[in-house]
């Protein structure tokens, strides 16, 4: 998107400037990115003990604990990758201020994010350990649950957006907010793809 401007030699008349912009031009986007960084750092911190405490064990997972089943993780990753399509469509519709289309894609994303939450329960089962069993169980459970907390928040956010888009007159500002939902979506799903790869592949190395 080209940068909006309004300048003249004597006055800077800002009344002609746009009232709504998208992406990094938008103030709201900076807040979203701030929380993306904080949450990304937090997920990384949860991963650190998983890597650090590994050296206390000869085997990983420890003897008696099977390796995590890969099927639920693969299904989750596949679903998340697939969800990038509606996320992208949502973003494009929002940037066109196409309220009805945004509304529809928000419903699709709501279905996806609820599916993520359901699949998370299967992923927890697939670990074959408990949070209090040993350091392996602790670190894997906490990684899954911390990311699950982001999914829960996203369920709330997307459902709220759906309610706003169906219950109110859609403003340009709402469209910009919907575009930020898409930006956050890539973080929510992308971060899990990395974490799932570590949790599933490392025990198999």
């Amino acid at each position: 998107m080209s940068e909006p401007r309004a300048e003249s030699p004597v006055t800077i008349d800002v009344s002609r400037l746009p009232a709504t912009v998208f992406g990094r031009w938008d103030l709201g986007w900076w807040g979203t990115m701030g929380f993306v960084v904080i949450e990304g750092v937090t997920l990384f911190i949860c991963l650190v003990p998983y890597l650090y405490l590994r050296r206390n064990f000869d085997q990983w997972p420890p003897p008696g604990t099977p390796r995590p089943d890969s099927a639920p993780f693969a299904a989750q990753v596949g679903l998340m990758l697939l969800s990038w399509v509606p996320a992208r469509c949502l973003d494009r519709a929002a940037r066109r201020f196409d309220g009805p289309t945004v509304r529809r894609w928000l419903v699709v994303l709501a279905v996806f994010v609820i599916a993520f939450a359901v699949l998370r329960a299967f992923e927890l089962q697939a670990l074959h350990t408990r949070w209090n069993a040993d350091a392996y169980g602790t670190t894997t459970w906490i990684i899954l649950l911390m990311h699950a907390s982001l999914i829960v928040v996203e369920v709330g956010e997307v459902l709220t957006m759906v309610a706003i888009f169906y219950g109110h007159r859609v403003t340009e500002r709402h469209c910009s907010d919907a575009s930020d939902v898409a930006a956050y979506w890539y973080f929510l799903t992308g971060s899990w793809i990395v974490l799932a790869a570590i949790l599933v592949l490392w025990p198999r190395l």
Partner: protein, 646 residues
């Protein structure tokens, strides 16, 4: 290089009418009464509360230290028993670091940054208010717990296994871990607000390389917060808290856990913490030195790069707190080198200030006096820092009073003195009254003498082997006289703080009216009234140079077209501050308070049960729903803007 550049301040290019001013007042002002007071999102009112709250916590933490000094004044006293002593030193350290040092910087930043960059508000006013309320609740929980004899007693570092479930039954350690998280949530919210404010709300013309140094240091501080504070929040509430609440095994060696993991996680936050409270203080010093030498600070690019370098390097030193745990020699050498290296950017800044003072026309007023005191005390703290960065020395001095002396010199010199300098310097802007100069000098000398009397003897006590965190010692150790001197010093410091409070009370009533710019300073906050109106600037400023007021030519273009009947804020581009779009800011709301109450409930319940996450999470979620739900007024304003733009 130019010498002194102070020039008379030009009057605003366009004088707004009374009707416009009244409309701006109506638009940006708060509703009267308690509801308006609680719902305010005015960054100045929120910051003033932050400041007062942080200062109250400072006084309480100082009182705890006076009690400890009374106990240690003579050997084998029984004034304070070991159990209460453990709580006092833990609460003192926790409050000073988490409830005073970082929050007071946020308070100053939240108040000053929008004014310094020519904005009408912060980027996310509601998030800002939310952060304050969460912080306040954290402080109430800590001091309430101490009053209930449940104050944390595991040291401000809460090392495991001492703080773990086996050695700290009961809820004292739980109080520590949630209080830390209260303050970190507040700080993280504040950091996001500051970063977006600084990058996106600068007045036209204020390119990054024209930003005041204080704003630069707040920006670096906010980035440090974002990368450092999640470590202690996650480490305390998730790792330590869950080990205590639901028997996770992070720190249990029997199940593959590791107690050293805590030290790594804690200090990966803890060392940057020192710099995140120090950097804004250095920014304050730069503002004061500029004003009282009447010339721009020497070496602006070097100062900016030094601040950024300090922020980056601060993440590479954490292991120097762990030299005594037994490290591979290569790691110890690396962290010794890194610890020594961070003295370089700090040294650059100190040399730049000295050059500024030497080449300017210094006016020795109270704020500059505190700055000179800061240089003296902080340099001493820095030098002992270089000493303890050396592994052989550190192994001898570790956990002795030498370290207590070192970090008090660093933090009192590097934070408290600049903060007192700043409070005297910006007092006229905050209150509209000049502080009393004579009382200011009394405060300075009492604090300067008190700090040195209290903490210099501790170097010798440490070298003689007195361990920290002991509630008493035997007479035969011969430590009595130096401890008595330290206690006398603590009382002298207390007297200094009391004189400061008298000064505040007196100046609020009888101080001379300050006017817009009593110090003839160069930054934008001094171009609006004292105290500033709710909308900060009637006419948005345009910046022509690094010293926004001194560099005014009177020929700068003026900003027109921003609505005064709605909370419109001009948003500019991140690097060059070119006008980008008009953002409609949210109106005041009680929802941030409700969301903070939900978060407070979550963390409070986590002291006792993991279900706090569910109960508090639902409460917070509902409040955030109310927060985000579009109000009729806001929606109508948005639609009106859209219609008119079309």
């Amino acid at each position: 290089m130019t010498d002194t550049v102070a020039t008379p301040i030009e009057p605003p290019a366009r004088v707004p009418t009374d009707a416009e001013l009244r409309e701006l007042e109506r638009t940006w002002g708060d509703r009267p009464g308690l509801r308006g007071w609680l719902a305010t999102t005015d960054h100045k009112r929120v910051a003033a509360r932050y400041l007062v709250t942080a200062f109250v916590f400072f006084l309480l933490a100082g009182f705890a230290s006076v009690l400890m000094r009374l106990q240690l004044a003579r050997p084998e006293q029984t004034f304070v028993g070991p159990d209460l002593y453990n709580q006092l030193f833990t609460v003192h350290g926790t409050a000073m670091l988490f409830l005073f040092a970082a929050p007071v910087m946020f308070a100053m930043g939240t108040y000053l940054v929008p004014l310094m960059i020519g904005a009408r508000c912060v980027a996310y006013p509601r998030l800002n208010a939310y952060g304050y309320y969460v912080y306040l609740l954290g402080g109430v929980v800590l001091w309430g717990a101490l009053l209930a004899n449940t104050g944390p007693d595991v040291g401000w570092t809460a090392y495991v296994p001492l703080a773990g479930p086996d050695y700290s039954p009961g809820h004292r350690a739980d109080v520590w871990q949630v209080v830390v998280t209260y303050t970190e949530v507040a700080s993280l919210a504040g950091a996001v607000v500051l970063i977006a404010t600084i990058f996106k709300l600068r007045a036209p013309g204020m390119t990054l390389n024209r930003m005041p140094l204080f704003v630069w240091t707040m920006l670096v501080m906010a980035f440090i917060v974002i990368f450092a504070m999640p470590w202690v929040a996650t480490g305390s509430t998730i790792f330590l808290g869950m080990d205590r609440l639901v028997a996770t095994q992070y720190f249990n060696p029997a199940e593959g856990g590791d107690v050293l993991l805590w030290q790594h996680v804690f200090w990966f936050f803890g060392h940057p913490e020192v710099y995140l409270i120090l950097l804004p203080a250095l920014g304050m010093v730069s503002s004061i030195v500029t004003t009282f030498t009447r010339r721009p600070v020497f070496g602006y690019p070097a100062m900016v790069l030094a601040a950024v370098a300090t922020g980056i390097l601060s993440f590479g030193l954490w292991v120097h707190h762990m030299f005594a745990v037994g490290l591979p020699q290569l790691a110890a050498s690396f962290f010794t080198a890194a610890s020594t290296m961070i003295a370089v950017p700090t040294g650059i800044q100190i040399f730049c200030w000295i050059a500024t003072i030497a080449s300017g026309r210094p006016r020795l007023r109270v704020p500059l006096g505190f700055v000179l005191g800061f240089v003296f005390i902080f340099v001493l703290g820095g030098l002992t820092g270089v000493m303890v960065a050396s592994v052989p020395f550190d192994l001898q001095a570790h956990d002795t009073y030498f370290v207590v002396a070192h970090f008090h010199y660093t933090i009192l010199g590097g934070v408290a003195f600049p903060v007192f300098a700043a409070l005297h310097y910006w007092f006229p802007k905050l209150t509209g009254r000049m502080p009393n100069e004579r009382l200011g000098w009394w405060t300075f000398w009492l604090l300067f003498i008190g700090v040195n009397a209290a903490f210099f003897p501790m170097h010798f006590l440490g070298l003689e082997g007195m361990p920290r965190r002991v509630y008493t010692y035997l007479a035969a150790t011969g430590w009595g006289d130096l401890n008595l001197l330290a206690t006398v010093g603590a009382f002298v410091m207390t007297a200094g703080v009391l004189v400061f409070l008298v000064n505040v009370a007196w100046s609020l009533r009888a101080g001379a009216p300050a006017g817009e710019n009593p110090w003839d300073a160069d930054t934008l906050e001094w171009s609006t009234s004292s105290p500033p109106p709710p909308y900060n600037f009637a006419v948005l400023p345009v910046v022509e140079g690094r010293s926004a007021l001194w560099d005014r030519s009177g020929r700068a273009p003026i900003v027109t077209g921003l609505r005064s009947d709605m909370r419109e804020q001009l948003v500019t581009t991140a690097l060059d501050a070119r006008p980008s779009y008009r953002h409609l800011m949210p109106n005041p709301s009680l929802w941030p308070l409700a969301a903070a109450a939900g978060t407070g409930l979550l963390l409070f319940l986590l002291i006792f049960t993991p279900w706090g996450i569910v109960i508090g999470g639902i409460a917070t979620g509902l409040a955030i729903l109310g927060w985000a739900w579009p109000t009729r007024r806001h929606e109508a304003e948005e639609l009106r803007r859209e219609r008119e733009a079309a």
